[in-house]
């Protein structure tokens, strides 16, 4: 009984926060759609699902996410091998570089791809601007890092001996891979693929900046329906549909990785020098590196050129407000937006660390008995929910439910960081959980049997193992917050916008000067996040490896 009380006590704060700032807004948003004008009318919602445009949106979401997932896995597997099983100079740097896209703000990626593919851009000749192919490329650009990290961490810890045994029995390299290595990697591949699919299917900023209104995914459609068409029943219907699909996907992914986490019996295999037969994998990695670098290069080059000449004008413009005098689009200089972003990110980081830390502790404690294990499992799933809910739904839900006492929080400076903290929460939890779960519970028991109370045992056993992952999680949360666009675009006050919001406003305006400023602002934001991520990479935490 006392154990259950402790469990619920620790879970109380995250539960309350998630209840008020997640369940309530999302339920409010859904309710607004299902009860238009206070009358229960699910018919309108069902009608939405029969619209041809909705069918097109669903189909586009499904196939673009599927193709992007397949391509990401196909490119990520060889790269994971090269970066985690082979030894060569500069390996750490390449790993860091390939991780950067994952945390680049979606708006920045959108802008970079547009700059790359538009007429007169580096790859403008391919005619991919505004096409589905362009969107899929951008999605792959983002998510290849997830595959590399997730599969790479497992691959690195894979015992070499079964493969050697198979080789000694006469299996060639391909057979060894097919019969020994791939089955061992399968849980990691499946979990990476499902996460990538999830990210692709709920991508917002990229699709919005690249697809415009022609190509819309469920997530951008919710945004358009809510903000431009004011069709709340339709938006609610799509939100519910998305929630159901994502939860189902999470459950399936959870089943697929029912094998014990690689963390527990990790034995990092010694990396091998590159040999001739590794050439295909190395070639794929080099191509991947080039493909990842190209949009970034296009972005940087674009920000440094104006009217066919090299110039820093775009960066100088960041201090001003851009546009014509009296144009209300930009109320503050970009530099001030950057400061806003940083301030908000600090708040979002401590919030998500506090919540995520508590959640991770709660779900990893060893359970006694089935009921307790079920309860912990349910809590674990509950705290993953923000992963499945459209950030747009969340943001709009905030607006419509937190607008009246006692929850009139619309003008609170903590609203934006709180929404971003919820978006970052699953990432923080997934970074901490494998580490805490990988700790032998008998260490805590040993401390207890020597006379240490629960807090002291925590300080002795858990803290020394978790400070690095905690820092890494802080880095992730910070980066997520810097780039968060979906929820923020609803909540941010016009006079205190964040960087992604300002960038989106800038590219929406016609002037060449504004476009240049958008590129320059994107470079600044990307550089900031990349710095944070390279610092995280130095911590050498196998994060992202535990989805």
């Amino acid at each position: 009984m006392r154990r259950l009380a402790t469990l619920l006590g620790l879970a109380a704060l995250p539960l309350a926060v998630l209840g008020v700032f997640f369940v309530l807004p999302v339920a409010g948003m859904v309710g607004r759609g299902v009860w238009p004008d206070g009358v229960f009318d699910p018919g309108a919602v069902l009608d939405v699902l029969t619209r041809p445009r909705v069918h097109r949106v669903l189909w586009f979401t499904l196939w673009s996410a599927s193709v992007a997932t397949v391509v990401s896995v196909a490119l990520g597997l060889p790269a994971a091998y090269v970066l985690h099983r082979l030894r060569f100079p500069g390996r750490g740097l390449v790993r860091g570089l390939l991780l950067v896209p994952f945390v680049l703000p979606t708006v920045v990626v959108g802008v970079a791809f547009r700059q790359l593919l538009r007429e007169g851009g580096l790859l403008g000749g391919l005619g991919l601007d505004g096409t589905p192919t362009g969107i899929v490329c951008a999605l792959v650009f983002f998510n290849v890092a997830v595959v590399i990290r997730t599969v790479g961490a497992t691959w690195e810890g894979l015992d070499r001996r079964p493969a050697e045994a198979a080789a000694a029995l006469g299996a060639g390299p391909v057979t060894v891979f097919r019969t020994v290595t791939l089955p061992a990697l399968r849980p990691a591949v499946v979990s990476a693929a499902s996460v990538v699919f999830l990210f692709c299917a709920t991508a917002f900023g990229v699709v919005l900046t690249l697809g415009g209104s022609r190509y819309s995914s469920v997530e951008t459609e919710i945004y358009l329906l809510t903000t431009e068409l004011l069709d709340l029943p339709a938006a609610a219907a799509l939100s519910v549909l998305q929630l159901v699909v994502v939860v189902a996907l999470l459950v399936v992914a959870g089943r697929a990785r029912r094998t014990p986490d690689a963390q527990v019996q990790r034995s990092t295999a010694r990396a091998q020098p590159v040999r001739r037969r590794d050439l295909p994998q190395v070639a794929v990695t080099v191509v991947l590196l080039a493909a990842v670098a190209t949009p970034v290069v296009a972005l940087v080059v674009g920000s440094l050129r104006r009217d066919g000449a090299w110039t820093l004008d775009s960066y100088r413009a960041l201090g001003g407000r851009g546009g014509e005098p009296g144009d209300p689009t930009l109320v503050v200089p970009v530099t001030e937006a950057l400061l806003n972003s940083l301030r908000i990110a600090v708040d979002a980081t401590w919030m998500s660390l506090l919540l995520g830390g508590l959640v991770a502790v709660v779900v990893t404690r060893r359970s006694r008995g089935r009921a307790e294990r079920r309860l912990r499992g349910a809590l674990d799933g509950f705290f993953m929910l923000p992963l499945g809910v459209s950030a747009v739904t969340l943001g709009f839900g905030f607006l419509i439910t937190l607008d009246s006492p006692p929850l009139d929080l619309r003008s609170s400076p903590l609203l934006v960081p709180l929404a971003q903290a919820l978006v970052a929460l699953p990432l923080v939890v997934r970074t901490l959980v494998p580490v805490l779960a990988g700790l032998d519970d008998r260490q805590r028991q040993a401390a207890a049997s020597l006379g240490a109370g629960p807090l002291r045992a925590f300080a002795t056993v858990d803290l020394p193992a978790t400070w690095r992952p905690l820092l890494a999680a802080a880095g992730f949360a910070f980066a997520v917050s810097l780039g968060e666009f979906g929820a923020t675009s609803f909540l941010v006050r016009d006079d205190a916008p964040t960087m992604p919001v300002v960038i989106f406003r800038l590219i929406g305006r016609p002037g060449a000067g504004d476009y240049g400023a958008a590129l320059a602002a994107s470079v600044v934001l990307a550089a900031t996040t990349a710095l944070v991520m390279l610092a995280v990479e130095r911590l050498r935490v196998p994060a992202l490896g535990a989805w």
Partner: protein, 334 residues
């Protein structure tokens, strides 16, 4: 004195320990011996307060420990793999329990750590990290760390099982001496009868969650409760019926339904009462090991001195060493 009174422990709804009643008198070393999965570790964890009994009481000097959490019991538990804290040096691991005390007495603590390291034979290891130690050294550090807590009761979970054979034998002797020198009341669980015999005064034999026999170690050894216990205690065979009667008679012991026979209980002796034909012979450094088809008793193990020449087909006589057989009253359980 630790006392378990009709204790039942369930593990995930499945009974792991059933109706266990055990006493551990002050200053004694009691070994719980049983095959893996018999519930002995669960019993130990219940005593440590890591599992909650479904029924029965666990008490110390008559005080029920039911509401006392692990860290307030004053029982130090030493795990099979030591479970040293990897980020702390040997000295800080050993001094862990001392640092939990208020007020701190730094000088006295340092002295105590040094003397404990001396006790376990690891002087000069104070500043090493656990990762740099061998398995045996780690177990010694874990033992010193447990003793540093000045526990009312020391709980050892398979303390030597993770070590290789030679080291295990050596460390078992050391552990015996250290426990006697420290005078610590100890409950040890193990599946290895040699470990139990090397360490304990009293033996509790467990099987399938139940205690099948307990008593002074020599008593249990001499009078196993049933055939399965006898086999687990290291007897080679349990004979029943006519074979048992023949062997007991040859040993000059009173009749019993069954008799447990050690491998070396029957020796080759030209004047032996039992007669038979050698079926096979195998040489070992100590003995010539024989299997003999004994008239009226079937195949039995026997040994002969290394110089003896006995081959298959030879007719031989066998003598029975009464100290190496044990009458078993309950013949079942096989």
């Amino acid at each position: 004195m630790l006392r378990l009174d009709h204790v039942d422990v369930d593990y995930d709804g499945v009974p792991a320990v059933v109706d266990a009643t055990v006493e551990v008198p002050d200053g004694s070393v009691v070994a719980v011996l049983g095959p893996s999965g018999c519930g002995k570790s669960t019993l130990l964890r219940a005593v440590a307060g890591l599992e909650r009994p479904r029924a029965g009481t666990i008490s110390w000097d008559g005080v029920d420990l039911g509401g006392t959490p692990t860290h307030k019991r004053g029982f130090a538990l030493m795990f099979q793999e030591g479970q040293l804290f990897g980020h702390l040096t040997v000295a800080r691991n050993v001094g862990y329990a001392l640092r939990l005390r208020r007020p701190r007495r730094r000088a006295a603590d340092a002295e105590r750590v040094a003397s404990l390291l001396g006790l376990v034979g690891l002087e000069g290891y104070a500043d090493r990290l656990p990762a740099t130690l061998s398995g045996g050294e780690r177990q010694r550090v874990a033992l010193a760390r447990s003793l540093a807590a000045d526990p009312r009761l020391l709980l050892l979970d398979e303390p030597l099982s993770a070590l290789d054979a030679g080291l295990r034998e050596r460390l078992a002797g050391d552990l015996h001496d250290i426990l006697r020198a420290a005078g610590t009341t100890t409950l040890v669980v193990t599946h290895d009868q040699e470990e139990a015999f090397a360490l304990a005064d009293r033996l509790v034999v467990m099987r399938d969650g139940r205690i099948v026999q307990q008593g002074d170690i020599a008593d249990v050894w001499a009078r196993p409760a049933d055939a399965a216990t006898a086999l687990f205690l290291g007897y080679a065979r349990v004979l029943e019926g006519r074979a048992a009667a023949l062997v007991l008679d040859a040993a000059g012991l009173p009749g019993a339904p069954a008799v447990a026979v050690r491998r070396s209980a029957l020796t080759l002796a030209p004047t032996g009462v039992l007669r038979g034909v050698v079926r096979s012979a195998r040489a070992t450094p100590d003995h010539l090991r024989l299997v003999v088809a004994v008239d009226g008793a079937g195949d039995l193990d026997a040994v002969a001195g290394p110089g003896t020449h006995a081959g298959p087909g030879d007719e031989v006589g066998l003598a029975v060493d009464a100290a190496r057989v044990a009458a078993v009253t309950a013949a079942d359980a096989r």
